[in-house]
Symmetry: C2
Subunit: 206 residues, 2 copies
């Protein structure tokens, strides 16, 4: 373990080591941090416990992530393809945009590469103001962009909030609290149950 | 403080003391426990910290509430008038039931006697299975009862879940994450934005 740390630090300092190593170790720390934040909360998570989970020395966690804030930020940042897919969904033709958005939400929560990140972000936003602000900025930018451009700005803001509220409530039932029937229905059934509501919020009569 | 504890224990044991005293002390402990559960999480909350918040001796907390489970249960149990008002809302004429339900939700979260209890219940349900089960049982019983009786049972179950999802998502935005515009809109505007969605889930075409 110490050897691994020294090797990694040595490589990082000299800048000569293979990038893969750094990436692998850093990803392992981020994933351990995410689990720790989910289980112990932001205030309860410690560098030591995260290091134990990642099976690295605590000094290495400090070396890669100088502060808990940086670690939390890394643990709640979705991968680039999630952002790309979000863009694709909110740019779909307006008439099918509600459907595309909920399809994207459902497939992202189900994917091992994004589900745990969304889960950690939602839970940490309950107790950490920065995470909440990050979430707010991302949801409001995306969902306002998804609403009909013909509507007045104030109206679009409200509709974006309603889209977000229906999605967040669904995610809480299906993925966090895991309450039936929403937790055990097929993706397809969930999508067809929720898409019309989102579509109404995006451009329907209210 | 010790005198207060001894007095309360003496009265509780002898059964002679004025009920007000017991009620007042117990309510203070419950309220302190609720704040502690919200801030420190279920696993992070301790009898000692709760006692400190309530300004009583830890032994008194143990005396009134033998276990953390009992304390958590007390901290997440709404008062009888909340249950009465829920019954009234879900028994309103079907055509205006969506409106009545969201009015009840919004006024309950705004009320000092119920808002903090709902807040604690939602947060503790994230990490505590019993709280989650309590919430599930209450929401599903109430919201299934609110859906149109003419629909098949399976359909009513789904619709109740959707009602619940829209309400929970709204509450998360307005009262927990406090994200605009849903957090700062008037109760009236929130009610008129969300009521039609609930009404559709209760008895509309889907």
């Amino acid at each position: 373990m110490m050897r691994l740390m020294k090797k990694a630090i040595g490589e990082a300092e000299s800048g000569r080591g293979p990038r893969e190593d750094r990436g692998v170790i850093s990803a392992r720390i981020i994933s351990a941090a995410r689990d720790e934040f989910i289980e112990q909360g932001v205030s309860g998570a410690t560098f030591r416990a995260i290091a134990r989970r990642a099976d690295v020395d605590p000094a290495l966690v400090h070396y890669y992530f100088a502060s808990k804030e940086r670690l939390l930020d890394a643990a709640t940042t979705p991968p680039p393809d999630f952002l790309d897919n979000t863009q694709t969904a909110i740019s779909a033709p307006l008439a099918i945009r509600g459907q595309r958005i909920i399809e994207h939400v459902v497939s992202s929560w189900a994917a091992p590469s994004t589900g745990p990140i969304l889960y950690a972000t939602f839970l940490c936003a309950n107790v950490d103001e920065r995470t909440r602000e990050k979430l707010r900025a991302s949801m409001s930018a995306n969902f306002i962009g998804a609403t009909s451009q013909r509507l007045p700005q104030r109206d679009r803001l409200l509709r974006a909030g309603l889209v977000s509220s229906q999605i967040v409530g669904l995610c809480w039932h299906r993925y966090i609290w895991k309450l039936d029937p929403l937790a055990t229905m097929s993706d397809r059934d969930v999508i067809s149950a929720v898409a019309p509501t989102l579509q109404k919020y995006l451009n329907g009569r209210m």
